[in-house]
Amino acid sequence: MALPESLTYNLSPPEISFLSENEYITILPRYSMKKIELIGEKIPTLRGMRRERVPLWVALILKSQDKCNIVPPSWLELDFLKMKYEEEMKLPHKFSALPWHWLEISKILLAKAPDDLADPSNKLKSIIQDLREIRLVKSRKGLKELNESNIQLDGLSFMEINELRPYILKVMDKLMNLHDSISRNNVEAETNENEYEDGEASEDE
């Protein structure tokens, strides 16, 4: 097959991390640099100490060459994350609001720009780990409620969703198959089927 099975209806964690690098982040350039015409975006002329918003992947290249400092996002901060953790404890059936790419971006910044973060890396890492775990336990409990129709998953981030995706989809699809095996439940499916066939529906023996 043109695409390996493991990438069909599925994303890998490195892939989601890659996508998170498209998010914008504020940098504080240390030097001036001419503007760059990219295909997606125009990177403006950078001037020393004047803040700019650029895609994270651009910021990481500049950072690796000591051309800028990264201004960490406001949520990547010990106090804020602790507050979120307490929220998670208080509300056992709800996920606290965290950015769509919080796991990926925090991991990237902790690895590539630890000196730009306001709090010590080890403390940040540990609260992020705690948050991840409490949310994982919560989501796992929620998985008891799966059905054959639809569910809502507000509050989970992309990476967290992706981890649960294969399980959720395979369970819901199977429940649907079982459900639809009863013809009464499958009336609509059969009507659709006939439309699909353009009236050439075949006769059973």
């Binding site: 964690p13 992706n162 399980y167 198959n177 079982l178 009863i182 013809s183 009464r184 089927e193």
Partner: protein, 176 residues
């Protein structure tokens, strides 16, 4: 029911045998019960693969009679003992020993008999078992309960595989 023609698991499920009772004597079909060249007698009970049984069971012998070539008898995988066990404690039933494509069989069986009660019950046991499967898939360090793992039907094995692969990939990513 529109199973994919090339779906290997569907082909295997269709190859599973179910007990059937012949409603007429058919010469030459003795090979179906291991007596090649002989006739199959009316009222004899024979195990036939589903791909054959499901069609013979809906073909009427004559236009006037509602009798079909064969009657499907209750297959062992849906007998009262199995269903009760699933109701009481779904996760402790050895589905694999019963039939390795249990859910496919359920779908096929239910679609032939429109057995809603059966489907509702098996949906619930699937949910219970799936939840347990995810717990195992999450926790690769914990001692794997081999009894449970070897009791999974083919779809459950696949569910375990995709879930544990996903968790493993996530762990690897976090640690890298």
């Amino acid at each position: 029911m529109d199973a994919d023609y090339y779906d290997i698991d569907d082909i295997l499920a269709e190859g599973e045998k179910v007990p059937c009772k012949f409603n007429l004597t058919v010469p030459g079909l003795g090979y179906l019960e291991g007596n090649p060249g002989k006739a199959i007698q009316k009222d004899s009970v024979v195990e036939l693969p589903l791909w054959l049984a499901s069609v013979l069971a809906i073909c009427e012998i004559s236009e006037e009679s509602s009798q079909r070539f064969i009657d499907l008898l209750e297959p062992p995988f849906f007998n009262a003992k199995v269903l009760n066990a699933l109701k009481t404690s779904a996760a402790s039933v050895d589905l694999h020993a019963i039939t390795s494509n249990f859910y496919k069989m359920t779908e096929k069986w239910a679609s032939m008999f429109d057995d809603e009660e059966l489907v509702e019950m098996i949906k619930q046991s699937f949910k219970d078992r799936a939840f347990e499967i995810n717990n195992y898939a999450n926790n690769t360090t914990r001692h794997i309960n081999n009894d449970f793992m070897s009791s999974l039907d083919e779809y459950e094995k696949y569910l375990f595989k995709v879930s544990s692969d996903s968790h493993k990939k996530m762990k690897t990513w976090i640690q890298e």
